[in-house]
Symmetry: C4
Subunit: 127 residues, 4 copies
């Protein structure tokens, strides 16, 4: 299968819920960047995380060929964790085409809530 | 990082839930326009809010360079607040490229519900 | 404001939940086609509803200039109502550009669930 | 009506919840690939399912002309079922234009959660 997708993706609504209810790990509140690399070459990605009141942070990620990675964003820790309970946004840049979808499971109340959004693929960029 | 996104975005389903359950401010029912300005220049935005049975309203908003703003729509008050419990829609216009995503947290019942939608970026506009 | 959007939109997952919990009308389970007509001319729309095991049905709808309509799909009745509890899909065609977003509120269990999806705008059609 | 949509679609966040609460079949946790074939010819589809730690699997599916199919992904069984409780992703390829939307109903806790996402249509592919 050929590589499919785009090399730059954007999620504007990130928010790590600060607590959880229900059995771990399934019901631990979290956000995941779900990335598909359908192509024959590994994907090397840079995630740039933007905040409301501080400078951006950069993270590195790798997705093997013909694999998906569902990366929990609260588990990134290099250079430092994304703090819970604050709004953020992020840009994913890849050296090969990938597809990025963002999902949040919020179990702060007695029944979990879910959101999932296809990221914006920045083909239409206007520098 | 270069500016990324588009200069016009549309959300067709706005609705501010009229009441809440659970601790404030996390579980106060709300809608947020989540905007990323990844570029080097501040973004000056105009939000035009459309209703089912009255003329549109216009609001101004600013997003600093390399920052995200998660603007709660129920907190806009100039020229006047968007009323809760009615359907609305809105168009975001920016002087630099941004990305817009819309999220609703509805805590009117005992467990919260969440929706989040990437806005329509109006590149394909057909005047 | 100029007209914004596209003339053809598609939702592939329609499903009217067959019952509700909580006070009406806010918590009556429903689906809505949320349509924005930001332009200066009224929009005349045709909705074609597709099913799994029967022929399509067609409905007419009108959205005034500079207005949004959040049309509950379960309230369409000409030529006949869409039955609850079955999967369907629909295509919206408009004579002027509009934006279409689809939302479901499912209150069949004790707390409501919400989904909202920007429709597919069929610019990329390949006849 | 003309065929509408695209011939390749991608969902990056698949996850079959491993258990359910509430009456079957409505509240059985599931994911569905909702596909609309609005055109005059049947659609023959190939679904390629990608995992985090094993090679992809391929499934075949058919959508009649002018019909929608809401295929529960947990019911595919040739060559083998998709296992519950693990992250996956999938690519849909069709011989005629279709529209694909992905929905998850998660009833593992006392009230169901819903997500639905338009798939990425791979027009912008960069091989």
């Amino acid at each position: 299968m050929l590589a499919v997708g785009a090399r730059r993706w954007v999620i504007a609504d990130g928010y790590l819920p600060a607590w959880s209810q229900g059995p771990a790990p399934e019901f631990t509140s979290h956000e995941a960047a779900c990335i598909l690399n359908a192509g024959a070459d590994p994907a090397n990605l840079r995630l740039t995380v933007f905040f409301e009141d501080r400078d951006p942070l950069e993270y590195a990620l790798r997705v093997p060929a013909q694999r998906t990675v569902h990366q929990r964003l609260g588990e990134l820790d290099d250079p430092e964790p994304i703090p819970p309970g604050v709004g953020y946004a992020y840009v994913v840049e890849s050296d090969v085409p990938v597809v990025v979808q963002h999902t949040r499971l919020d179990s702060r109340q007695s029944a979990n809530a879910l959101v999932s959004t296809l990221a914006f693929h920045a083909t239409e960029e206007t520098p």
